[in-house]
Assembly symmetry: C2
Homo-oligomer: 181 residues x 2
């Protein structure tokens, strides 16, 4: 649950990041920036700001903002109704993003999970993305990511996005944001 | 057919546009910028500069540069082997792009086709895209587009891209660029 005030504040705050990345949004897009608190209510540590450019049955593109050290928690995109899960490419546009995927755990990783939730972060192969760097996540594979000290702006190119089917390692997480009236 | 020198010049020229749009490319991407002259050999009027970020069986993302008044000629993306043709969203990042699709012809359109090839431009419903504006082209529908007086940078989000199957109205066009040795 997020309050209208916190939602508006996070939308406003994310505008500075889009500006730094040189990304132009329409007035409607600005009004509709999604602020995901994942039901945790600790947006500074667990959260994501999202602009959805397009999301059809075949194709999706989004722009993501991560505030400094803000984390999108560990999840995967499963097969739904026989359709393979989402395939997504993250391309860093501004700042730095630390992405974690399955594979050999990286010694001394750059990120620490949000406090108290460490047990729900299980993949530790670190991919560091600076502007111009990208990485493709294939369906149904666990991943999580965190913005660096200055935050990050990341483009996501993917197949159809159906966030409501995402499976999070942390059972307390609710992907769809509830806004308090 | 394009010479190595013209290819390199066009790659170099396109870098200024990516910079204006605030788009960061890797050294490898810069080296591999595609310069499409569509086999016409008149790159300033008929041409397109392309960086392919990702192109898998399910998903594709590219960055396009149009030099001032440069035109990507009229074409469509047909069904191939039972797979519906490419669906693509163009999002203007910098400059202005004039896009033409099927529908009521726009009176006094902003663009003129490349000289001598007017007969191969048959759809005239004009869509003007400024930075932040976007438009989605559904499969197998004719379209063409031209950069404005300052050129344009356009992001393309799409399903799988198989340019070799594109069908151009102008029978002289060859989509895949041949580079002279």
């Amino acid at each position: 649950m997020i309050t209208q005030q916190k939602l508006k504040e996070a939308q406003q705050r994310s505008l500075a990041y889009f500006a730094k990345a040189g990304i132009v949004l329409t007035a409607d897009e600005i009004e509709e920036i999604e602020v995901a608190d994942f039901g945790i209510g600790e947006l500074d540590s667990t959260g994501l700001e999202v602009v959805v450019y397009i999301n059809t049955e075949r194709c999706c593109a989004k722009e993501l903002v991560l505030f400094p050290y803000q984390t999108c928690p560990e999840h995967r995109h499963p097969t739904v109704d026989g359709e393979p899960g989402k395939e997504e490419t993250f391309r860093c546009r501004w700042g730095v993003v630390y992405l974690y995927v399955a594979g050999d755990p990286t010694p001394n990783p750059k990120s620490a999970p949000p406090k108290g939730r460490e047990a729900t972060y299980t993949v530790w192969n670190e991919v560091v993305l600076y502007p111009g760097d990208q990485y493709t996540i294939y369906p149904d594979t666990l991943h999580w990511f965190q913005g660096g000290a200055d935050g990050a702006v990341v483009s996501e190119f993917s197949t159809r996005s159906r966030d409501e089917f995402d499976i999070f390692t942390d059972a307390e997480i609710q992907r769809l944001t509830q806004v308090a009236n």
